[in-house]
Symmetry: C2
Subunit: 273 residues, 2 copies
């Protein structure tokens, strides 16, 4: 299935633009799970069971699994397998922020799409389109290019002026006009910069944007939606990680995560009618 | 030990600027090793035993290990452990090309420095200095920032003009003048762009540059050395991956790798006297 069809189908089915970031840092998961054989997987499974009808996507960030070595990688795979078996319609975004030269990117393609069987991967733009060809060529998988990231220092490079444009605007234009031949590109635009999100939305009504930075990072949901929704009242995949998965760290963490995800879904959908 | 002391010590001890890239792609390693329990590790061990007195560094690229899933990550760790136990003076560069927001980079720090115990990691500059703080703060570990990469399409962004400078020049200036407070930064400058290497060398005589692109990628060793050596006839860590490790894929691959590494070391040292 084309990646964009998969995205549109799950947004429609669950009536949700919510993405839950599975940033399941070992030291932050509830104490009663830390002694289990597969603590990160057990945690993720509970979060998934509590929220799967409320989301369009899950987004595990590789850093939190790599931190645990080969065991973490196995638990990341177990998480993706669990999703693919039980909820195959839900998008899995591998937040890996990779990008190497072309020949080497084939290794990351195998990791993300053959081994983990995720649906999309986040990518740095710095090496250019030619290097990212192994990702861009596969219309069944999403290539989500970093454009304006949510961190406070992202402007150091992303706001540099190239002629009458900023670098993040050039990234957006290149991705929208040149890299997206297979209609499988998305852009990362942080919720912490709604003005920038708004300016990029004017360049493409169709393209989906992955929006991190809601919740713990301080991004504002209302401003994000006013700036980023397209003419279909869609076009955004809005991520919250810590604000949902670590809303509570007692044995009741899962129902509390559901509560936060539901609140976010309802709040978003107020702006979509 | 400060990372720069470690680099200088091994360059002096082995009288070598050669870095061997352990891009040990499973499908390319000799057939007789592919059925072993740990084929990537067995291959690396043989390459290390054949070349350890000729190099200043080994540079495994994570993509080729991630492609094999959790087993590949384990074999990457076995490779790093083998080096740390047997040749602790040799630099291990994790070619991972990571970079996320600060909080998340802590996970990659754990992966690279606590779990794998490597000495340095390659990083994308796009998120800026603030995001890379977890790497920049540790003076015992090298932060190797991508500046002008070796791929043919690297100019798409890296050559964009910002005022009277190109983006890769701005990256170099920022790293040299602002990010390098702990004297632990290096830059990646591809051998395929000797003019660019030369222009960045004029900005810093002291900084070490990691130079990929020799060998299979077509970079010219003579031009690289003329452009990049500093006033001490040093300052470069010159990588060859496929040209050394896959010089031969029979059972004699290891002596053939030694031959190629020795040839490269001798050729480089002609320009250092």
């Amino acid at each position: 299935m084309h990646i964009i069809d998969k995205i549109k189908n799950i947004i429609q089915k669950n009536n949700s633009l919510v993405c839950v970031g599975l940033d399941s840092e070992f030291s932050k998961i509830p104490a009663h799970l830390q002694n289990e054989q597969y603590p990160q997987f057990s945690f993720n499974k509970a979060i998934i069971e509590a929220t799967h009808d409320l989301v369009c996507a899950y987004k595990p960030n590789t850093a939190f699994y790599e931190a645990q070595g080969e065991k973490g990688i196995l638990e990341l795979k177990m998480t993706c397998d669990y999703l693919n078996v039980n909820y195959p319609e839900i998008l899995i975004i591998l937040d890996a922020k990779r990008a190497d030269i072309g020949n080497t990117n084939n290794g990351y393609v195998k990791f993300a799409f053959d081994y983990l069987q995720t649906d999309a991967i986040t990518l740095h733009p710095y090496l250019g389109q030619e290097a990212l060809k192994p990702f861009l060529d596969n219309s069944e998988k999403g290539a989500i290019i970093l454009c304006r990231t949510s961190n406070s220092g992202s402007g150091e490079f992303q706001n540099l002026q190239v002629g009458d444009k900023k670098i993040f605007e050039i990234v957006a234009e290149k991705v929208i006009n040149e890299w997206n031949k297979n209609n499988n590109c998305l852009l990362v635009l942080g919720a912490t910069y709604p003005e920038e999100l708004k300016s990029i939305r004017t360049l493409s009504d169709n393209m989906f944007f992955l929006v991190p930075g809601i919740g713990a990072q301080g991004g504002d949901l209302e401003k994000t939606l006013e700036a980023g929704l397209n003419s279909q009242k869609s076009g955004l995949i809005i991520n919250s990680s810590r604000g949902i998965i670590f809303a509570d760290n007692s044995e009741d963490f899962a129902p509390k995560a559901r509560e936060e995800a539901l609140k976010m879904k309802v709040e978003i959908n107020k702006y979509r009618t």
